[in-house]
Amino acid sequence: MPTKFTTAVTAALMLNGCSLATSHNTSDTSLSCASPSEQLKIEQYYHNKPTDPLPLSSRMLEINEGKVASALANSIGVDANPEILSKVWQTIDSWGNEQNVEFITTINGWHGFTFKTKVPTSRDKFAPGFYDIFADQGKGLHGHINPLQVKSIYATKFPMKDGKRNLAISLFDDKGDGIASLYVTTTFSTSKLAQGFDKTWALIESLPRSCR
């Protein structure tokens, strides 16, 4: 994986490894797009708690994160493929690798982990079968995302008081489960993070939208 050792091992051994996690190019939107009744539940929830991040509302509502994101008025999503993942993450690269964000992941929808990290940026070379993102010039988070398993990508703007903006980019799998999310809290719309997020938002807005 992230080390020289693991890079060597993966290069040698993972050429055939992609099939462990097989591609699910399902078009079954019922798994990742909110139904009308779910949409109603989600809207009611966010009417009362507009600031709740997706993993929290997902758990509260017992509706997967992807569906929750699909139902929010302040959220836009794109059906993902490896090319789109790459394009989106290139805009995240522009947020600045010295900027701080909150990384949130849930393991199979059950176990939650959150931590602060510098913005993980894409690598020049990827391990076979992966889209690699490293933070802090390799000294921080190492992420190896299987691009075939990223079904949708959402950008979400959460309203906040006191002029703050909470912004999120979330990757979901074909079941609507969260793979990883970057959350940003910023006060000024002119901040580098906010401007970077706006670029990502604009890109997603220009692409074919999920659940439409």
Binding site: T10, L56, M60
Partner: protein
């Protein structure tokens, strides 16, 4: 509750805190329906001889000292199955329940809150995230079905493990290709997928020597617990 407060930690959400508390409690009470939301198919994660042969061939060859997720991906096997297939002296696998997991993590606490480790997450073998962290320490036990673990007194990683979903725990100690062993404590779901791996050291990588006595304590505890296989 800590899961909730942790998720909201970065958001400065204070306005509806009381509501969140009430709602989180209600959610935990109704958590049985989460099984329908995220079903996990249990498998037999105990390796048969053919699997053992495959895994040991890997580790005797070019995979020497490789972290388990690399072996899992290379051999296209669930990670818990890989762990169970290692040579007897290289692993201890135990059946998990809430008390055992808490006891195990209490020994991980003893590695030292300022001791550096590497944490690894995978999602069904598809995606891998790993990062350096100080040892995440158990938080107050609310006996609510969660194990809350925070590093750096809450400034570092905040993890929330759903205890009922952890079925096995493995300690591994593999010879590395450069003399540095690969040592980890890994927690697995019923389908053999990794929930979290705490790597004390990884072959070819420098590591925090302070981890060694603590890792031995955790190893010793696992030796006393009911075995996952056999």
């Amino acid at each position: 509750m800590k899961y909730i407060s942790s998720l909201t930690h970065g958001f400065n959400v204070k306005l509806c805190f009381a509501t969140v508390l009430v709602a989180s409690f209600a959610t935990l009470l109704s958590s049985s329906t989460l099984a329908e939301l995220n079903p996990i198919t249990a498998i037999n994660t105990c390796a048969v001889p053919a699997i053992q042969e495959k895994v040991n061939k890997f580790y005797l060859g070019k995979g020497k000292g490789a972290p388990l997720m690399i072996a899992g991906r290379a051999l296209k096997l669930p990670e818990a199955l890989i762990a169970s297939a290692l040579q007897p002296e290289q692993h201890i696998g135990v059946k998990a329940d809430a008390k055992r997991i808490k006891d195990i993590w209490t020994t991980i606490d003893q590695w030292g809150e300022e001791t550096n480790v590497r944490l690894v997450f995978t999602m069904g073998g598809s995606h891998v995230f790993d990062f350096p962290s100080n040892v995440p320490i158990r938080q107050e036990d609310l006996d609510d079905g969660w194990l809350d673990i925070f590093a750096d007194q809450g400034d570092g990683v905040r993890g929330h493990l759903w205890l009922d979903q952890i079925k096995t725990v493995y300690a591994i100690n593999l010879p590395g290709s450069d003399g540095t062993p690969t040592r980890a404590i890994s927690f697995y779901a019923a389908d053999g997928s990794l929930i979290i791996g705490v790597y004390a050291s990884i072959s070819t990588k420098s590591y925090d020597k302070a981890v060694e006595p603590g890792f031995e304590k955790t190893w010793a505890l696992l030796k006393t617990l009911p075995k996952a296989c056999g």
